[in-house]
């Protein structure tokens, strides 16, 4: 815990305001003066009911949607105004939909070759660098899904769990500052989501990544990561880390959920 508190802040979201459907009858002011700091090397899980703003945080961080006001910094560099694709140079993202993180028409090999080139120019050299194949294969072996023998198979014919595992590998292939996990196990069956989640933890540890994970699975939120946030209506209503986070149980979270619901009068 003490080590973590000394580590530098990696991401800072300062005084963020974000409203949906502005100037309309159904205007929803989700964030008003929202602040969040993520320290380098931490693994943050975010839980919360639908509409609490979990995914919006991710979308704002990735530049998928613009902020109304406020600033976002990564390593003290302001990224608020960058376009979405420019964010990807230092942020890796795994989506809920396994189809989003890979390219279905291309083979596993071509997908990995493309990801390998991230941050470098995509010129007229041959798309797949044959010298790198062994490196790709050994990376795939880490997944323990047998994909290393299916390099020439198109990704579209893989199962959701396999695609998500590959997407995780691809998102973390080149050095990134922040890994964003957007309910990345939600579309998978229980067994696959366990596999992908274990894999996630291993990859994050091995590559010393900072990760921000949004999940509806309270068990995962409790078991993985060293900090847990609970969101409600654009506000952080619970923020535990270190020892306090480790002693959390699923029941504590469901209790807190119920409290919030009662406050809301549901």
């Amino acid at each position: 815990m003490s080590i973590q508190q000394e580590s530098k802040p990696l991401v800072r979201m300062e005084q963020i305001a974000k409203a949906f459907h502005p100037d309309e009858v159904n205007e929803v002011a989700l964030f008003e003066n929202f602040n969040l700091t993520i320290r380098e090397g931490s693994f943050v899980s975010v839980v919360g009911s639908n509409g609490s703003g979990k995914t919006t945080i991710l979308n704002l961080l990735c530049g998928s949607i613009p902020v109304d006001s406020g600033k976002i910094f990564v390593r003290d560099r302001e990224i608020t105004k960058l376009s979405e694709y420019a964010h990807s140079r230092f942020i890796g993202r795994v989506f809920q939909d396994p189809a989003k993180g890979t390219c279905p028409q291309l083979t596993i090999l071509e997908n990995m070759a493309l990801a390998d080139q991230k941050g470098k120019p995509y010129g007229l050299a041959h798309g797949v660098n044959r010298k790198r194949i062994d490196a790709y294969r050994s990376q795939l072996e880490l997944l323990k899904l047998g994909l290393e023998d299916k390099l020439e198979v198109t990704v579209g014919s893989l199962s959701g769990g396999q695609r998500q595992a590959l997407a995780l590998l691809i998102a973390t292939m080149t050095p990134i500052d922040l890994l964003i996990l957007d309910e990345h196990t939600a579309a998978l069956d229980p067994r696959s989501s366990e596999t992908v989640m274990e894999l996630t933890e291993r990859v994050v540890k091995e590559k010393h990544l900072t990760a921000l994970m949004v999940t509806h699975n309270l068990r995962f939120a409790v078991r993985y990561g060293d900090r847990l946030l609970m969101m409600h209506r654009g506000k952080i209503v619970l923020d535990h880390e270190g020892e306090k986070k480790n002693s959390l149980e699923v029941r504590d979270l469901t209790d807190r959920f119920n409290e919030i619901s009662i406050e809301d009068g549901n």
Binding site: K118, Y122, S159, G160
Partner: protein
């Protein structure tokens, strides 16, 4: 027999020439998933520009190159309209197609609807073509057309295997993936449209040299013809494993030309040509839906490993 032979030759000549356009439209329609209507304008632009340049004494191969570059510019405009100004894909194409009519008529052709180049040097009656033995004189056009078409096809195949080519395929398949790689899928779309329209203009350029004239109105129906070639080719030859999609669309163009020629031989009035083109296209589309529909369902259920 001689009539039949000449018919086959004519089909192959035109099939290869339109095959160049089919390869270009394959890139926009199949790889990028962009229904590009500007083709109706870039095809006659290539033809008109070539005719005017050749009639001014330019080397025909150089004229081909100029036509290609003019096509890339037009395609780039379509792309910019779509990507930067957020105009829908169909409308961007229609806007460029409409604007090109005036560009072709007023700027390139100087107000004339037709320019003839019967007495000028074309790729078919000068330079390399003359190296072919006289005995092969009647095959000159088909040989050169096939050579250019296959050259473009192989170049496209090679490009699609490069890093940039893979990124282009990814942009059409899953734009979000390209964003994740830190690249702008919009730029890839523009690039693809430039290549596609460049090929289309080149196709127009070569057709003008084969026909010996260029007409501003020659673009009508080119979209239908190109899309039909692409769809017929990829549907009919999908099962053929060793065949690349680009080869399939060239064969599609030849098949399509054969269908038209066959109908004409059976005594169909030439005025019904465009109607027939539309009918063949419809049949191709419906046939494609059948086979594609079946393939879509095979998609893996993402919730199962």
């Amino acid at each position: 027999m001689d009539v039949f032979f000449n018919l086959i030759l004519a089909i192959l000549e035109e099939g290869f020439i339109y095959g160049i356009m089919a390869v270009g439209v394959y890139i926009t329609y199949r790889v990028l998933d962009f229904p590009d209507l500007s083709v109706d304008g870039t095809f006659p632009m290539g033809a008109c520009l070539t005719a005017v340049l050749i009639s001014h004494g330019m080397n025909p191969w150089l004229a081909c190159l100029c036509a290609f570059f003019a096509g890339t510019i037009a395609g780039g405009v379509t792309g910019l309209l779509h990507v930067k100004l957020h105009i829908t894909d169909l409308l961007s194409g229609i806007l460029v197609m409409t604007a090109l009519w005036s560009v072709n008529l007023a700027t390139i052709m100087g107000g004339k609807a037709t320019v003839t180049i019967f007495n000028s040097n074309t790729i078919f009656n000068s330079g390399i073509a003359m190296l072919l033995p006289n005995a092969a004189a009647q095959f000159r056009v088909v040989i050169l057309a096939a050579a250019v078409c296959l050259f473009i096809k192989y170049l496209t195949d090679a490009y699609l295997r490069t890093r940039s080519g893979l990124l282009l395929r990814a942009a059409g398949d899953n734009a979000q993936y390209v964003i994740s790689l830190g690249k702008d899928p919009g730029s890839m779309k523009i690039l693809g449209l430039m290549i596609g329209n460049g090929c289309t203009a080149l196709s127009g350029s070569i057709l003008a040299q084969q026909a010996g004239s260029a007409n501003v109105a020659s673009g009508t129906g080119m979209v239908v013809m190109a899309l039909a070639s692409v769809i017929i080719g990829t549907t009919v030859f999908r099962k053929v494993k060793f065949m690349r999609a680009t080869s399939a669309v060239v064969c599609g163009a030849i098949l399509y030309k054969a269908c038209l020629a066959g109908a004409m031989q059976m005594g169909l009035d030439t005025n019904y040509l465009k109607l027939l083109m539309a009918v063949i296209f419809t049949i191709a589309l419906v046939g494609n839906q059948f086979t594609l529909g079946r393939r879509k369902k095979q998609h893996v259920d993402p919730t199962r490993i």
